[in-house]
């Protein structure tokens, strides 16, 4: 049976309750009759022979570039950059796509006798990856061949010796990149396009750049004008990255881009109910839901977190394309849209969403309140093309426990942002003007970012900016089942149940509002007509 496309369900009296993610757990909620539920398309079939597909993509690149084999020669300087631990979500079962692709690249490099090869994790301002995470992403072989010789590196956006300023774009944006990448004869970027935001020129221009460069597109103004940042042709974020990409190419940095797309087979068998449609739940799905939600009620949060973060997703490769950035990314987007696009008629007054336990920035970590806001108002809100799912002045209702908890190693600046900045103001422009610079240059955060496993000091600001479009668009945000103090600190309204939240929403949008539920993950993009 070929996978069915996504669709919009209208809730009637015989519709079973709808699954809502709730952090490390899930609820079944009855939505009012007449509400709409947007279901993602079913997982696309995987490539039958991924290794052959990869070899083929390297052999037949898109755009104006010879195949990788012809670009490799003895004595050259080759750098292979790859996406970091923030992709894919949840981390995929071994072998990871990056391992498959980089092994293929290295095989060609070995054949060609390329001695000088360095791998770079394109962290941007994310935390460094642990050895275990690198092992998982790249596989044992690559790790063992490169790590002992210090040839497996992680981009350090705070190392002045290893950054090169390439110049200014037409709009006066600084472009500062990883020195090794710039000085290589060839830079191969291995990307995973889980959502439409990833990839393209953003891979290199963001992943291998510095704060000096990032601040030109990671700011409130850009984010307010990225509508949405999942739609690159209407995203100021991407436009800026594309300008930078142009400059990078003009500066003579030769990039060979390899982009991959995955299907939406997100959760393992035993969690099948998470990606089946409720009226099609088999007895196994129902038993699985009952057993896991019962068990989770009795599980301490710390343990539940550990269990959920040990989930390895059965994602499979649906396409791989290599070559010149532009044509490669266009092809990639076709594949992402093929998997994720759902047509939705018209906007809604109230948008509900269940937020899962994971966001790009808390892999093997704690989803702190700032990340909850970012996942809901940054990522999920922006999963649209055309117009936002919720109308201007509408209400967003998110379900997540939103604990007042922070990972002390991964998110040190987040705690301070939450304690100091958000307690003073939640206003984006004020925050940006008053606090960003102090956090971005704080030597302690810089130290932790470089030597420990901490996100950069400025990163919580970006998470907050990510919400910019949503915050200026909706008139109220309600969090169901969250820590009340933490939710208030974010400037949102806490509610105990979904019914309460809908009541509260009516105060804003009027009686009998239209309600739409985003049934994700698995992820989807709403094509709002």
């Amino acid at each position: 049976m070929s996978p069915r496309p996504g669709f919009v369900l209208e809730v009637d009296r015989s519709t079973p309750p709808t699954l809502f993610w709730h952090g490390e757990g899930f609820h079944l909620e009855r939505l009012p009759v007449g509400s709409r539920v947007i279901y993602p398309p079913e997982p696309l079939p995987a490539l039958t022979d991924p290794d052959a597909a990869i070899a083929d993509a390297l052999e037949h690149p898109l755009g104006d570039t010879p195949p990788l084999r012809a670009l490799l020669r003895g004595g050259m300087k080759l750098t292979i950059a790859f996406d970091d631990v923030s992709l894919p979500l949840p981390p995929m079962r071994a072998p990871d796509v990056r391992q498959r692709v980089i092994e293929a690249v290295l095989d060609l490099a070995a054949e060609a006798g390329v001695d000088d090869v360095v791998l770079v994790a394109a962290l941007a301002l994310h935390r460094r990856m642990t050895d275990d995470e690198l092992r998982h992403a790249l596989g044992e072989r690559i790790f063992n061949a490169f790590a002992p010789h210090d040839l497996l590196t992680q981009h350090d956006a705070e190392d002045p010796d290893n950054l090169v300023h390439l110049g200014l774009t037409d709009e006066g944006e600084d472009v500062e990149l990883n020195r090794r990448a710039v000085e290589s004869d060839l830079l191969v970027y291995v990307n995973i396009n889980l959502v439409a935001m990833d990839g393209g020129h953003k891979s290199v221009a963001t992943g291998l750049s510095s704060y000096k460069s990032l601040r030109h597109h990671h700011n409130v103004r850009t984010m307010e004008h990225s509508r949405s940042f999942m739609d690159r042709h209407h995203s100021e974020l991407h436009t800026s990255n594309w300008r930078m990409g142009k400059l990078i190419a003009e500066a003579g940095v030769k990039v060979f881009q390899i982009e991959t797309t995955l299907n939406s087979n997100t959760f393992p068998e035993q969690f099948g109910f998470l990606q089946h449609r409720e009226w099609e739940w088999t007895w196994k799905d129902r038993a699985g839901f009952a057993a896991s939600s019962k068990a989770l009620e009795r599980t301490p949060p710390e343990l539940a977190r550990r269990i959920f973060h040990s989930i390895r997703s059965p994602h499979q490769l649906t396409s791989v394309q290599a070559g010149e950035v532009g044509p490669v990314h266009d092809r990639t987007l076709e594949h992402v849209h093929r998997q994720q696009l759902v047509t939705v008629e018209g906007q809604t007054d109230v948008l509900t969403m269940g937020l899962p336990f994971i966001s790009p920035y808390n892999v093997n970590s704690i989803m702190n309140p700032i990340l909850v806001a970012c996942l809901g108002l940054g990522y999920f809100f922006n999963l649209y093309r055309g117009r936002p799912l919720v109308r201007e002045g509408g209400v967003v209702i998110m379900s997540h426990p939103t604990p007042w908890a922070f990972h002390p190693v991964h998110h040190p600046s987040y705690v301070d942002f939450f304690e100091q900045v958000l307690s003073e103001t939640t206003d984006l422009h004020e925050i940006e003007a008053k606090y960003e610079n102090a956090f971005a240059t704080d030597p302690w955060y810089v130290h932790l970012y470089r030597t420990s496993y901490a996100y950069h000091g400025v990163h919580p600001f970006y998470m907050w900016y990510w919400c910019a479009h949503a915050l200026s668009h909706v008139s109220k945000v309600i969090v169901v089942g969250g820590d009340r103090a933490a939710v208030r600190r974010l400037g949102f309204s806490p509610a105990t149940t979904l019914a309460d939240a809908l009541e509260m929403a009516e105060d804003v949008v009027g009686r009998d509002p239209s309600i739409t539920h985003l049934h994700a993950p698995p992820l989807l993009i709403a094509d709002v007509q």
Partner: protein, 315 residues
């Protein structure tokens, strides 16, 4: 009275008498070959070390019959990549020989402290050996033991390989074989590094149970007029053939050996990553298959490359 209760202090200007507890090459291991100690070691070897090796490394032993046919002392030489090698090799020896075998161990590593010396001598029956050169004293000790009927395990590379590839064989084993007139059995060990790697750059080492192969070669003696250096090179070549056999099969290895095409165990002289890459290539048979399945023949111009066997995606 206080004086009687404490160890006396030494007056200034008096030199301390030299300690009798020698370490390094000077450590005397004779005690470890006395009967009660041997008995205890045999028990530990058979009841602890061998089962542990079985559980951890599930050794697959090939060609041991060559060794079983020999009487009298032999010198066993093997490539060296892991601390596990000694235990695996001892476990692979026939039981009767295992109990009458000493192991040449690096004096600067296993005998640098008194407690380490005691432990090495007792547990492995180790004797201290200088790594890089033939030391008169350690050679004397080893030679006299061989003459007494003890077999000797020695790793002629002089230490564990830093990257998994073999290193040059030092001359010690060949010298002893010539001097004592005993045969040398070349052995190739495969997979021990995967179970217990050498730690690199302070990364913690993890024990990963796996499967190792122990390949015994035919016993070798120095030929007429062959000096120790030549004989040592021949031993290295013999281990290389065994290594080749482990990668391919016995026949291919023989053919290649006869054509003088056996790949060197020291690996290609390229950059570190490519050495590691080549090594991993050979260590993972599944990977080898995968790669040959998708490899394009020859290195032609890209436009002239053969059509893909796999349909292009997205058309």
């Amino acid at each position: 009275m206080d004086f009687l209760l404490r160890s006396p202090t030494r007056p200034g200007g008096i030199e301390p008498a030299p300690s009798e507890k020698g370490t390094g090459v000077d450590y005397a291991t004779a005690w470890a070959r006395r009967y009660p100690v041997r008995l205890a070691r045999a028990m530990i070897l058979d009841d602890l070390t061998v089962p542990a090796v079985q559980a951890l490394a599930r050794p697959h032993i090939l060609g041991r019959d060559a060794l079983e046919r020999l009487d009298g002392p032999v010198i066993v030489t093997a490539n060296h990549a892991s601390h596990l090698d000694t235990a695996v090799l001892l476990a692979a020896l026939p039981a009767s020989r295992r109990h009458r075998t000493v192991v040449a161990a690096a004096a600067d590593y296993f005998f640098d402290r008194h407690w380490k010396s005691v432990l090495s001598a007792f547990w492995l029956g180790a004797i201290p050996m200088e790594r890089l050169k033939v030391n008169r004293r350690s050679a004397e000790v080893a030679a006299s033991l061989i003459e007494e009927g003890w077999s000797l395990v020695i790793f002629p590379e002089g230490g564990r390989s830093p990257d998994g590839w073999g290193q040059e064989f030092k001359g010690g084993a060949a010298y002893l074989a010539k001097r004592c007139g005993v045969p040398v059995v070349p052995v190739h060990l495969r997979g021990t590094r995967a179970v217990l790697p050498k730690s690199s750059r302070g990364r913690p080492v993890r024990l990963r149970p796996g499967r190792v192969e122990v390949r015994f070669g035919h016993p070798m003696r120095p030929s007429q007029g062959e000096d120790a250096r030549r004989f040592s090179a021949r031993l290295e070549a013999a281990v290389a053939v065994l290594a080749d056999e482990a990668e391919t099969d016995w026949w291919s290895a023989r053919l290649r050996a006869s054509r003088d095409e056996t790949p060197a165990i020291r690996g290609p002289e390229t950059s570190p990553w490519r050495r590691a890459w080549e090594l991993a290539e050979s260590a993972d048979p599944a990977r080898r298959r995968r790669r040959t399945g998708s490899r394009h023949e020859g290195r032609t111009d890209w436009e002239a490359s053969p059509p893909p066997r796999w349909p292009r995606n997205g058309h």
